[in-house]
Assembly symmetry: C2
Homo-oligomer: 404 residues x 2
């Protein structure tokens, strides 16, 4: 099945997640569950923009350098940010005010301290000021009712700031999806187990778990490892309750110990896709079992990473009611592997893990070497028939959360 | 003081953090505390690269299409990934093997299933194979002793995978730095408190706390709010123990209620910088009090965000023994604010918060509008004397963690 058609099939079986209320200090990285409007204006009252004197602008209408207007300074403490002192200021008078101070009744402008002359309890204003001069108006920073955080946004430190400024102490966030990850394979060991001959430590599910948590905001249930036994796989899969997605690795091939195909028939898994035209990962499949999405990926440490990310990106759009995928994409130039070889273009999409780094201000994508594990932070997908030639540029998907 | 000179001053007073051991599933986002080398090779024994027959290459030396070599198939279960069956394969014989199966003694190559003809318990090989063909050699993916994660790396899902593949169950990580954040100001309220006239909710420390946690990997101590009272500030500051950095906002100006300057003299804070040539934030200062770095930022919701990030980026290099800052930088074109106005270039660096987004494949930086809070995910710093003209490009710093 065409890879991108398969992805859209999956989307139609995911559902928007429920919401829960989280406090601000636990909210960074969570996904906003509703479009939030400001419950109040910021500032909530007009404030002074600078240190100076609050005046009635009408009093200054005739002011000029040759005929400055004199205004009597109200005898009280200066109005400072947060102070409750709000003397009514009568015509012909003015009040000393500091940045952020509440504009007192009777005033509609603030002249800067340095723009007037102060002498014997009076100030001399040398040019007219307009109503509103020197004032941060009510709602000038945030208007009550204005959208401040959209549904589906990954909450950033900035979002926190704006929510806090409008007095919010909690916000509705989509609950974290629960993703179970199970590795299948006689040859696999968990870290800490004793290694011998034909065995190897299973790293792949740590890669997927890290992505699930850090990129897709999920709770991960590490279901460990089961042997290549249909009974063991069935038992484990049936024992997992309340998950939004089950991911298995291994067992998808056509070998004598690959049991996924037969097991799916036994369990009546409703297949959404299989036999993808993308490498690696052709044998991946996705279906519905007990109302739960089941993504079966091939074994191996990294064979399923790209398909996992692409599928999760699509599902996350539904879970979190987003239009955009969670992983940022950037334009990169692909640097060839050291031996200068490209690869065989064919009838499949080809995915490559690799590392995006900046070089002279441009983003380069270094293909992961065939036989040495290098750092990986991104991947590219090359369409059927295309070849990576010197200077080849394409879109790389970064394995990190984006710039909401 | 010159802004960048000030930053380098701060660095010399930070210290590398201690390390702690963390298990793999708690490691993503932590910073690796030592350069880690692979404790074993992957694979740890030679494995078959594909489904086929394990052979001794020497047996096939004379094989040709017209005179194929016949090898007798050892009568046993096929060798599968993870199976312990390892029959010694005598000359003239071969063993059926699946992908990932352990190469049995007596064999040094694997011919693909589809490249031979199987008949009556024998295979017919039609061309010579070389030693090593079809074999994933010991250490071909990861060599024992090879560096797999460098000190100072922010642990990614990929790093987890490689650590797990080499059998690691824990890794040394720098402990999280502890950052105390205190807002100073008579006008400030915490979310949930009752709003009236001259007060406003303090959002700025949530911005800083989010950055401290998500970008700089810190534990945040939210020290709340104190009034503009030297006694209250002193009491709170003296009560905080065991922090790596104290950040205060507010009180840095020259107004009647700005107490930081006088308080620092009273407390004998050893000043590292003050009076920076960058706006906003000129009044920021940094010093040492009780062996702890104290960064005093101006009040306001966002006036200190850029200086906070720049200072933390420098300190984090020392805390985590990194060369690179934690925040990624990308080249952006600055889109002007709607009214098309630039700003007044002067003798200071000017910082602008804003939003980086992709447009036709390029990164655009939308300056934060003067009077409406828009989303913010990055900032730019414009050097003294430069102006933002149409088409102006510069480096933007993203307020997120990077691509280690």
């Amino acid at each position: 099945m065409d890879f991108y058609k398969a992805l859209s099939t999956v989307k139609s079986f995911a559902e928007e997640l429920e919401k829960e209320w989280v406090s601000l200090d636990r909210a960074p990285g969570r996904v906003c569950g509703s479009t939030i409007r400001a419950s109040l204006s910021v500032p909530s009252s007009p404030l002074s923009r600078w240190d100076g004197f609050a005046v009635g602008s009408i009093d200054t209408a005739t002011a000029s350098v040759s005929r400055p207007v004199a205004l009597e300074i109200v005898q009280s403490e200066p109005i400072t940010a947060g102070s409750y002192t709000e003397p009514e200021v009568a015509p012909g008078r003015c009040a000393k005010i500091m940045t952020g101070g509440l504009i007192p009744p009777g005033c509609d402008a603030v002249v800067r301290y340095e723009d007037v002359t102060e002498r014997e309890g009076r100030i001399f204003v040398r040019s007219p000021v307009s109503a509103g001069d020197g004032i941060i108006k009510t709602g000038q920073l945030i208007r009550k009712g204005q959208i401040i955080t959209r549904k589906g946004t990954v909450i950033s430190p900035y979002n926190l700031c704006i929510l806090a400024e409008t007095g919010a102490a909690t916000l509705p966030a989509f609950r974290k999806p629960r993703i179970g990850i199970l590795a299948i394979g006689d040859e696999l060991l968990l870290p800490g187990e004793r290694l011998d001959g034909p065995k190897r430590y299973a790293g792949g599910q740590y890669f997927l778990a890290g992505l699930a948590e850090k990129v897709f905001g999920a709770f991960v249930l590490n279901l460990g490892i089961v042997r290549d036994s249909p009974e063991e796989i069935e038992k484990t899969v049936k024992s997992v309750k309340c998950i939004d997605l089950l991911v298995t690795t291994g067992g998808t091939g056509k070998g004598t110990k690959d049991h996924i195909d037969a097991l799916w028939k036994t369990l009546n898994v409703k297949e959404l896709f299989s036999g993808l035209n993308i490498k690696p990962g052709k044998s991946s499949r996705c279906g519905i079992f007990n109302d739960t999405l089941w993504l079966a990926l091939p074994g191996g440490a990294m064979g399923g990473v790209v398909i996992f990310t692409e599928v999760l990106n699509e599902i996350a759009k539904i879970w979190y009611d987003r239009r955009e995928v969670l992983t940022p994409r950037i334009r990169v130039e692909v640097s060839l592997t050291p031996d200068g070889n490209g690869f065989e273009p064919g009838s499949n999409y080809l995915s490559f893990l690799g590392f995006v780094e900046r070089k002279d201000g441009e983003f380069m994508f270094r293909l992961q070497d065939d036989n040495i594990y290098r750092s990986v932070n991104a991947y590219i997908i090359v369409p059927p028939g295309e070849n990576i030639v010197p200077g080849y540029t394409t879109e790389a998907t970064l394995l990190m959360s984006g710039w909401d």
